[in-house]
C-alpha cells in the first residue's frame, strides 16, 4: 500500500477510535477488567461490552485475519497503524484471547476449511475461550516428549493423560492439545494436534496457586476422553509442525509485553516514592541507576521491534524475531525489579487497605514477571535457540 493511502488509513483509524472508544476504555486494564470471551464470560462493565461489540463489528478483534472469518483483513502495515493509534490513546484490547494470539494463526496455516469456518469465527466473536494443552508434568522445555496418549479408535481418538500449567483451563471452553498418537516413531514424529471441547466427559481440572496469589493455571486430566477425528488439525503424527508454528506466535506476543503500556510504569511512579536531591536527581544513586538501566533497555527493545517491522516491510530477512521473546520478557523482569526498588516497602503489601491499588498492582506485576521468563519457552531455551539457529554453534 502506498504511503499516501497508509496516511489516509491512519487518519481514518484515528477518527474512528476517537468516536468509538469509550473514555473508560482508555487506560491500561487492571486485572479483572479484561474481556476474555467464552461461553461463560461476563463483561466487566457496560463500556467494555460496547467497546468489544464495536471493534468486533469492524473485524478488529483480529485485525489481520481474513474478513471471511470475521477478521479485519488488514495487512501488517495497516495493523501496526491500528495498534499504534490504539496505544496512543491507551485503548485497551477489546478482547484478549489465546484463540487470537495463538490458535487462530496456526489454524490459518494448518486448519482445513471447515475448521477455519467453525473456530476462527467463534474466536473473533469472543464465543470460545481457548486454553493451551502443551506442557505435562514430565515434559516442559522438552515439549516434544509429551506422553498424553490419543489412541485411534476409528471414528474418534481416545485421550488419556494429563497436562499441567494449563492457564485458565478452569474457565476455558476448548483446549488445543499436543497428544501422542505414535509411540514407535522418534519423539517429534508421533505427535498430533487435537482440538478438544472442555465439556467432553472425562476432563477435569484442578487449580494451582501462583506466587502472585492468583490461580491462573491448572492441571488438566483426561480420562478416556472421546475426541471426534474431525478435530485433528493437520495430519496425524505431524502435529509438531503445527505446535512449532503456534509457539512462534506465542513468543511474538510475549515479546511485545515489555513494550506495552504498563499498568504501573516505573518512570512515572518514581515521583511519588523516592526522594530527590536539590539538583532534581533521585537521591539514592543505586535506585536511580536501576531505573535508568531499565528505561534504556526498554527503549532499545522498542526500537528493535520497530526495526524488525521495517525490515519485514522492506523484505529484509533479519534475525531479530528470534531474540524478541528473550529481550521482551527480560525488559519485564527489569521493570518488576525497578518497581520494587522504587517503591520500597510500599510495594511489599500483599493485601488490605494499608496499601493502594497501584501498590498492590506493582507487586503483582513483579510476581507476574517471574512467569514470563519461564512460560512460552524459558529464557534458557531461547538462548539455546539463538545458539543453534542464528550462531549455528555445534550441538
Amino acid at each position: 500500500m502506498s504511503m499516501e493511502s497508509l496516511d489516509q488509513f491512519r487518519s481514518e483509524v484515528r477518527q474512528w477510535l476517537a468516536d468509538n472508544c469509550p473514555v473508560s476504555q482508555r487506560t491500561p486494564a487492571q486485572p479483572g477488567e479484561q474481556y476474555w470471551g467464552g461461553r461463560r464470560a461476563e463483561f466487566p462493565n457496560a463500556d467494555a461490552q460496547l467497546w468489544f461489540e464495536r471493534m468486533r463489528d469492524k473485524g478488529w478483534t483480529a485485525p489481520e485475519w481474513p474478513a471471511e472469518y470475521g477478521g479485519g483483513g488488514l495487512d501488517e502495515a495497516q495493523a501496526k497503524i491500528l495498534k499504534d493509534e490504539m496505544k496512543a490513546i491507551a485503548a485497551r484490547p477489546p478482547l484478549v484471547s489465546l484463540g487470537i494470539w495463538m490458535l487462530g494463526p496456526a489454524l490459518l496455516e494448518y486448519g482445513n476449511q471447515q475448521q477455519k469456518e467453525k473456530y476462527l469465527t467463534a474466536i473473533v466473536r469472543g464465543e470460545h475461550r481457548w486454553c493451551q494443552g502443551y506442557s505435562e508434568p514430565g515434559y516442559g522445555s522438552d515439549l516434544a516428549g509429551v506422553q498424553c496418549r490419543a489412541e485411534d479408535k476409528g471414528d474418534h481418538y481416545l485421550v488419556n493423560g494429563s497436562k499441567i500449567w494449563t492457564s485458565r483451563a478452569d474457565v476455558a471452553d476448548w483446549i488445543f492439545c499436543l497428544v501422542r498418537t505414535n509411540t514407535d516413531a522418534i519423539k517429534q514424529e508421533g505427535i498430533s494436534f487435537l482440538l478438544i471441547d472442555m465439556e467432553t466427559e472425562g476432563i477435569s481440572t484442578s487449580l494451582i496457586e501462583l506466587i502472585s496469589g492468583e490461580s491462573e493455571f491448572c492441571q488438566t486430566f483426561f480420562d478416556n476422553v472421546k475426541v471426534p477425528k474431525e478435530n485433528l488439525v493437520g495430519e496425524a503424527d505431524k502435529g509438531w509442525s503445527v505446535a512449532k508454528s503456534l509457539l512462534k506466535h506465542e513468543r511474538k506476543l510475549m515479546s511485545e509485553m515489555g513494550t506495552d503500556i504498563p499498568s504501573v510504569d516505573p518512570r512515572t511512579i518514581a515521583r511519588d516514592y523516592v526522594s530527590y536531591n536539590a539538583e532534581g536527581k533521585i537521591a539514592n544513586s543505586e535506585i536511580r541507576r536501576q531505573l535508568a538501566e531499565y528505561d534504556m533497555y526498554i527503549q532499545a527493545v522498542g526500537l528493535t521491534h520497530f526495526r524488525g517491522f521495517e525490515e519485514r516491510m522492506h523484505n529484509i530477512q533479519g534475525n531479530s524475531p528470534l531474540i524478541m521473546k528473550y529481550v521482551g520478557t527480560e525488559a519485564e523482569r527489569l521493570k518488576g525489579e525497578a518497581l520494587l526498588a522504587l517503591m520500597g516497602s510500599s510495594a511489599l503489601g500483599w493485601e488490605g487497605d494499608e496499601f493502594s491499588a497501584t501498590e498492590k498492582q506493582a507487586l503483582r506485576q513483579w510476581a507476574m514477571s517471574k512467569t514470563l521468563t519461564i512460560a512460552g519457552g524459558t529464557h534458557e531455551i531461547q538462548l539455546n535457540i539463538i545458539a543453534k539457529r542464528i550462531l549455528q554453534l555445534p550441538q
Binding site: R267, A270, Y276, E279, G280, K281, I282, R288, R289, L291, A292, E293, D295, M296, Y297, Q299, A300, V301, L303, T304, F306, R307, E310, E311, H314, I316, N319, S320, I323, Y326, V327, E330, E380, Q382, L383, N384, I386, A387, I390, L391, Q392, L393, P394, Q395
Partner: protein, 379 residues
C-alpha cells in the same frame, strides 16, 4: 526515522567495507602500531579516504563536502570498527567538521571546511582538562587581552591532537566549573606560540596528545560562535561524536564477537568443539541479543542527528552508554573464550579489547551517560 538503510546508504556501507578490508585490514593497523609511526595513521590512506569523499561526508556541498547526512557517516564508521582503522575521521570529520558547520561564520567555513573535506588539513577538538570526561568542568581560561583573549590551561586526551593542523580549544571566558554559560570555542593554528603538544602513547596504539596552553593569543576572528555561549555548539558537537564512537564500538564489538563465534566452532577440547558447551553458548547468545539491540539503538541515534535535534541529547547518551557496556561485555568475553591465546599480542582480539577501553572513555563513560540520560528524563 528509518531503521533500515536506504539503497544509497547500503551501497556506501558495502563500498566502505570492501575498501577497508582491502586497504586497511587489522594487519595494517598492527604495522602502524609496531613501527611507532610518527603520524599514527597512514597519510596515504587518509588521502584516499578523503578522495572517496568520506572526510567531508557531512559537510555541505557549497564547502566542498558530500552533504550525505550523518547516517551514511555512521555506516562508514561502523565499518572502520571492524578493521580498527586509525584515522582522523572522528576527531576531524565528525567533531571538528560539526563544530565548524554548526558554529562557524562564513569566513571560517570557507577557510577550513573545503581543506578538511579534501584531506589537506585535519583539525582536533581540545576539550578535556582532566582524566574524566567533563565538558562543563572546563577551567582552561581565556581572559580578554588586546581585543582578543589569552588562553591558559592544559588539555589531555586530545584525539589526534599531536598531528592536527588546527585546534578547536574549549575554554572558559566566564562562569565557574560546572556551568554551561561561560564556555567559548576558539579556532587556533596548532603551531601558535604558547602551544606545546606532547603525543601520548595510549593502550590502543592510536593518537592522543596532552597540550599545554600558555598565554596563547587568540583574536576575535578566531572565536567560533559567540562568546560565553560555546555550549550551544559544543553540546550537539559532542553528541555527534558520541554517536560516531558508538557506531565504531558497534562495528568493533560485532567483529570481536564474530571472530569469537568462529573460534568456538573450530577449537576442540575434551574431544569436542568448545562451542558445544552450553556455558559458552548461552553467553554467546546473550551477547548476540545485546548486539541486535545495539544495531537498532545506534541506527536510531545516527538518524536522529538529522531528524530529531531536540531528542538528540538523550538519544546520544542512550547510544554511548549502551555501546560502552556492550563493548566491555563482548571484548572481555572474546578474550576469555579464546583461552590462553586470547591474551597474546599475536591474536587480534587483544587489539579490540584495548581500543574498546579507549573508545569507552572518549566523550563519556557509562556512568556519565546514564547520569545524563536520567537527568534529561527528569529523574
Amino acid at each position: 526515522m528509518s531503521l533500515v538503510l536506504n539503497e544509497e546508504q547500503t551501497l556506501l556501507q558495502s563500498t566502505a567495507r570492501d575498501f577497508l578490508l582491502t586497504n586497511s585490514p587489522v594487519d595494517e593497523f598492527r604495522k602502524l602500531r609496531d613501527s611507532r609511526d610518527a603520524l599514527g595513521y597512514s597519510a596515504e590512506l587518509w588521502q584516499q579516504i578523503a578522495d572517496l569523499g568520506w572526510a567531508g561526508i557531512i559537510i555541505p556541498e557549497q564547502y566542498g563536502g558530500l552533504e550525505f547526512g550523518f547516517q551514511g557517516l555512521a555506516a562508514i564508521i561502523e565499518e572502520t570498527g571492524h578493521t580498527l582503522l586509525a584515522s582522523p575521521l572522528i576527531s576531524s570529520s565528525v567533531l571538528s567538521a560539526s563544530a565548524l558547520v554548526l558554529g562557524g561564520n562564513e569566513k571560517q567555513k570557507n577557510d577550513f571546511l573545503p581543506q578538511l573535506a579534501n584531506g589537506s588539513i585535519t583539525l582536533a577538538l581540545a576539550l578535556e582538562d582532566g582524566n574524566h570526561h567533563d565538558p562543563l568542568g572546563v577551567t582552561t581560561s581565556a581572559n580578554p587581552s588586546d581585543g582578543g583573549w589569552l588562553v591558559n590551561g592544559r588539555k589531555v586526551f586530545v584525539m589526534d591532537g599531536h598531528s592536527a593542523d588546527q585546534l578547536i580549544l574549549v575554554a572558559r571566558t566566564s562562569g565557574a566549573a560546572g556551568e554551561s554559560q561561560g564556555l567559548s570555542l576558539f579556532l587556533v593554528d596548532a603551531a601558535s606560540a604558547g602551544i606545546t603538544r606532547t603525543r601520548t602513547t595510549m593502550v590502543d596504539g592510536r593518537n592522543a596528545a596532552n597540550i599545554e596552553l600558555e598565554n596563547v593569543a587568540v583574536g576575535a576572528d578566531q572565536l567560533l560562535g559567540t562568546v560565553d555561549d560555546g555550549w550551544t555548539i559544543l553540546e550537539p558537537v559532542l553528541d555527534r561524536g558520541r554517536i560516531a564512537l558508538a557506531a565504531e564500538l558497534l562495528g568493533s564489538a560485532w567483529e570481536a564477537f564474530n571472530r569469537t563465534v568462529e573460534y568456538l566452532k573450530e577449537r576442540e577440547q575434551f574431544g569436542v568443539k568448545i562451542g558445544s558447551f552450553q556455558a559458552l553458548q548461552h553467553r554467546a547468545s546473550i551477547m548476540y541479543t545485546e548486539l541486535e539491540l545495539s544495531n537498532s539503538v545506534v541506527m536510531h541515534a545516527a538518524s536522529a542527528v538529522d531528524d530529531d535535534p531536540a531528542g538528540l541529547p538523550a538519544i546520544a547518551s542512550l547510544a554511548k552508554a549502551r555501546m560502552n557496556d556492550v563493548s566491555k561485555l563482548v571484548t572481555n568475553e572474546a578474550v576469555q573464550m579464546h583461552g590462553g591465546i586470547g591474551v597474546t599480542d599475536e591474536l587480534d582480539i587483544g587489539l579490540f579489547l584495548k581500543r574498546s577501553r579507549v573508545a569507552m572513555q572518549l566523550l563519556g563513560d557509562s556512568g556519565y551517560h546514564k547520569d545524563r540520560y536520567a537527568t534529561l528524563n527528569g529523574y
